[in-house]
Amino acid sequence: MAEQLSPSHVQRWVDGFVDTVVEKSDYLTDLDRRSGDGDFGTNMVTALRRSREAMAGAEATAAGTLFQIMSETFLTHSGGTSGPLFGMWFRDFGKVGADAGGFTLAMLDEATRKGWTTVTRLGSASVGDRTMVDAIAPASDALTAAVGAGSGLEEGLRAAASAAREGAEETSELVGRRGRTSYVGASALGIPDPGAVTIALFYRAAQEAVGA
């Protein structure tokens, strides 16, 4: 059982994430249509496809390399609000894994916390505003707890993924206070925030990459 995510784990993680989001893109776009302007899936797929092309040519020497590539790609082709925010999110994972041979759970905890800070600094969203932060925060808390409790990698990732999923699901009950969804108010109740759902998919792909 791996205690860190090697570059090839990261490859599987990223591939899995891209595949799932591409597959669910119509669903995500529909969520954005009902709560924003209906371009979320398209924005994501464009950036993810380009990321895949960029990653295909690159040699992933460090754990963070692929995230660095995804970050650049998202920031280069950022559509809408989520593009640049995800670009900066991946960037923190890239930074933490920049010189490392693999991601330990502590590193994942650190990257998540940094990413959360970055997204909050840039987007000013707090927990409960119905944004991706509502999935990031519980994932971060779960990781910190797992590291504190000395949990293994798989266990920690499983906790993070399920916390993120729950956080995302709970956005269904939130009225938006940031981004376009703040314009539609209560009429988005009952469906989750697409950005939060995407964060949940990100952790699920991590969990699946280590076979957990």
Binding site: L75, H77, G87, T118, L122, G179
Partner: protein, 332 residues
């Protein structure tokens, strides 16, 4: 049916940039992948002034690249922010080691991408500062809630004044303070008589009844919060100017720069008629129009309409306003 001179609508911006750069070879250079525009003759040893935003507002911003104004402009797609990587590339290209001033109109996407660019640049050791232009009085909610006032035509004043100060050697902190001061002392109101149409779309973005105007409109084809009665300039212009005077708290004897700006399809004859009314309203209020700019500088595609901007001016601002500039759209 609204029609335009274009090839494929998706190529409008890139083709226009090519044409623009080819038309002004002595002033600008176009860079590709990512796209941005710099001075043909790069400045040395000064703070770089960089702006950008969605396209469709031409001559803003690319038309203001040149001596005495911008070192680089970063164009997004029509009405969409440029990306952070574009902004970073442009900023890197023009940084002389003294840092980069970003002049940013207040829109979520622009703010986000310029902020991100600032963080990316910081990681590379490039200093940058961020001046937010938020002059549109129509979006002033009074409280601090929501996205705040939009950035519109006052950006020309901020770019002109900061560009001149940068040319004179001001450092990054001074420039940022100056830009913020000018931005804080600027307010704009805009009125539309007819919406523009996105390239490739035959319908304008909204329809107006013949007896109404869109009052307090923005520069992205969106509707305003309010419709008011259409009328002669002598009735419309006071409704634009008086709230600006009040919002800026302008008193008798104070000086302003007045900008009457066409939104794209409004003729110079009309703009000069509007300016005449602006002069009358300010004259009655005892406010001194120290400088004037009348023309189509910050457009909203082919929207029929105009905006009035007042910028409270002191000696320093006026001196910088008067300083020479040589750009495709503004030269003196």
């Amino acid at each position: 049916m609204r029609r335009q001179f274009t090839n494929a609508p998706g190529d409008v911006v890139s083709e226009a940039l090519e044409g623009f750069a080819a038309a002004w070879p002595r002033h600008v250079r176009l860079h590709d992948d990512p796209a941005y525009v710099t001075r043909a003759d790069p400045a040395r040893d000064k703070v770089a002034v960089v702006s950008g935003g969605g396209s469709g507002h031409e001559p803003l911003h690319v038309g203001f690249v040149g001596t005495g104004m911008l070192d680089a402009a970063v164009p997004g797609a029509v009405f969409a922010s440029p990306t952070a990587v574009q902004i970073r590339a442009a900023s890197r290209a023009v940084d002389t080691g003294r840092g980069v001033l970003h002049v940013v109109k207040n829109y979520t996407g622009d703010v986000l991408n310029f902020r991100i660019a600032g963080e990316l640049l910081a990681d590379e050791g490039v200093d940058s500062e961020f001046v937010l232009v938020e002059d549109d009085l129509a979006t002033d909610t009074g409280d601090g809630e929501g996205p705040g006032r939009r950035g519109t035509a006052a950006v020309v004043a901020v770019e002109k004044v900061c560009g001149a100060a940068a040319e004179r050697g001001a450092d990054l902190a001074e420039l940022a303070a100056l830009g913020r001061r000018v931005a804080a002392q600027s307010r704009t109101l805009s009125v539309a008589l007819a919406a523009g149409a996105h390239p490739g779309q035959s319908q304008p973005s909204f329809e107006l009844p013949g007896d109404e105007v869109e009052f307090g409109v923005g520069i992205h084809g969106e509707r305003a919060r309010e419709r008011r009665a259409f009328g002669p300039t002598s009735e419309l212009v006071p409704q634009m100017v008086s709230p600006l005077v009040e919002a800026l708290g302008l008193g008798r004897g104070e000086r302003v720069i007045a900008i009457v700006n066409g939104l794209g399809a409004t003729h110079d004859l009309e703009l000069y008629g509007v300016f005449r009314e602006v002069e009358r309203v300010l004259g009655r209020a005892g406010i001194d129009i120290a400088r004037t700019l009348v023309g189509s500088y910050v457009t909203s595609l082919d929207m029929a309409g105009c905006s009035v901007t007042l910028v409270r001016a002191d000696d320093e601002v006026l001196e910088l306003w008067d300083a020479p500039a040589a750009t495709p759209a503004l030269t003196w």
